[in-house]
């Protein structure tokens, strides 16, 4: 981490970049926040460890509008999002300096907290840390395996390769140990009634805070259609079950073919709704109906929803 910090400071000092988009040390051992650093002094608070799960590519929409280059730390999965943003002309590639940082999977604090309240210190979460991490709490100390408390998305990791970079720092690890579509298939195998009950239960928790939307790098609209008074779609009435469904279906639909499956939506949901189940369903369908497609892999590839073939299957057919 120190090496990375030094390198970023160097980039700032030698004028290669005007600012750095990275993570800032939190006030607790596990809550670093995404931040923009503009000076070497500020960089003292820079941190990169297992809790730096946030996908910083979306911050580059604003950052690359500013004068001078912006350095950004992107993990392998974040680079897909960045590529997708390039494709949609949302970031200015020329104004970005991509430091591709290594990743051995990111940690889910909720999983750690499940049996560790009153955390005061966590050690061993750095990129080159051990397989075990130590959690100190006021109620006693605990150790857990790094791989046991990964974010769900890391279990279906897309791989350790960065899709775009200007320089690479650190080693990455492919943490995939689960079938990407296993969760989807499990739901598909349920009866329609069971599926309906499942989603009703999950979605009824939704508080319409819009965290999923606002964190999503594909939801990069300047103004969301749900905030667009012209569409007459704005609603904040969360208890009306239809609203959440409409919101989540349409949100997933709008990012279909553009979603890189970065998993930020599920990570940030305050109610723990597995929102990726919607996006991943579309990805699965697209793969099945129109051939395999990974958004953000190739910035030139045509999005499946703005494309067609004469032989496409008919709606309602299940392939």
């Amino acid at each position: 981490m120190q090496g990375l910090k030094d390198r970023l400071k160097e980039l700032l000092t030698d004028g290669t970049v005007a600012r750095v988009v990275g993570w800032k040390k939190g006030d607790m051992p596990y809550n670093p926040e995404p931040a923009v650093f503009t000076s070497v002094d500020e960089m003292d608070d820079f941190v990169y460890d297992g809790f730096c799960g946030a996908n910083l590519s979306k911050m580059m929409i604003e950052a690359t509008k500013l004068e001078g280059k912006t350095a950004v730390c992107l993990k392998p999965c974040d680079t897909y999002s960045f590529n997708q943003l390039i494709r949609e002309h949302r970031v200015n590639r020329d104004n970005a300096y991509i430091v591709a940082v290594g990743c051995r999977g990111k940690l889910d604090i909720e999983k750690i907290k499940k049996d560790a309240k009153g955390i005061t210190e966590i050690s061993g979460t750095e990129l080159d840390g051990a397989d075990e991490i130590t959690v100190k709490t006021i109620y006693g100390d605990k150790t857990v395996n790094y791989s046991d408390v990964l974010l769900n998305r890391c279990h279906v990791c897309k791989g350790k390769d960065h899709m775009i970079s200007d320089e690479v720092w650190g080693e990455s690890k492919d943490t995939a140990d689960q079938e990407r579509f296993a969760e989807i298939e499990k739901i598909e195998a349920m009866s329609p009634e069971e599926r309906f009950e499942f989603f009703k239960k999950e979605l009824s928790k939704c508080i319409r805070c819009n965290a999923c939307r606002n964190v999503c790098p594909a939801c990069s609209c300047r103004k969301c259609i749900f905030d667009n008074t012209k569409f007459d779609a704005q609603q904040k009435a969360n208890v009306v079950s239809f609203e959440e469904r409409m919101f989540h279906i349409i949100r997933a639909f709008h990012v279909a073919g553009r979603c890189t499956d970065c998993g930020e939506c599920s990570r940030v949901c305050p109610e723990g709704i597995p929102l990726h189940l919607f996006n991943r369903k579309f990805i699965k369908d697209i793969d099945k109906f129109y051939g395999e497609f990974q958004a953000g892999k190739d910035p030139e590839a045509q999005c499946p929803l703005t494309d067609f073939t004469f032989e496409d299957i008919e709606p309602g057919e299940r392939g």
């Binding site: 739901i187 598909e188 329609p192 009634e193 069971e194 599926r195 309906f196 009950e197 499942f198 989603f199 009703k200 259609i225 569409f231 779609a233 009306v240 079950s241 239809f242 609203e243 469904r245 409409m246 279906i249 349409i250 997933a252 639909f253 279909a256 919607f278 369903k281 579309f282 369908d285 697209i286 109906f289 129109y290 499946p304 929803l305 703005t306 494309d307 067609f308 073939t309 004469f310 496409d312 299957i313 008919e314 709606p315 309602g316 057919e317 299940r318």
Partner: protein, 148 residues
Amino acid sequence: MSMNEEKTEFRPLIVAFCCNWCSYAGADLAGSSRLSYPADVKIIRVPCSGRVNPMFILRAFERGADGVIICGCHPGDCHYSTGNYYARRRMTLLFSMLDYMGVENGRTRVEWCSAAEGVKFSNTMNEFCEKIKSLGKSVRLGDLRCKD
């Protein structure tokens, strides 16, 4: 007594989005050929099936529709050459998602119907109405507030 029976019979509310060039004309042909279909079907004219935003479909369900059908030109015949191809992909994904969420498969449908297919239009509408009647009132996608 017969009055009561009539009232309890379920009359579905069906919204049909028809493209101006083929299906709307097909509906007109069904009309001028006096091919009847239930009055439960209400047609909204759109320039092209590619104009049908999934939000319109969900909106219809939100407001109490029991079934939504989208009619467009046959693939290859789109007045705008490609609109229905995009619509086909969009609707394929949307319908699959609705199915995935446990909404009854069959409340939504896409049918390609040309300006010459008045018979097909009428048959399709009759069939779709029957299907929706068999599924009953849409509950899973409806907005609770729309209920009386």
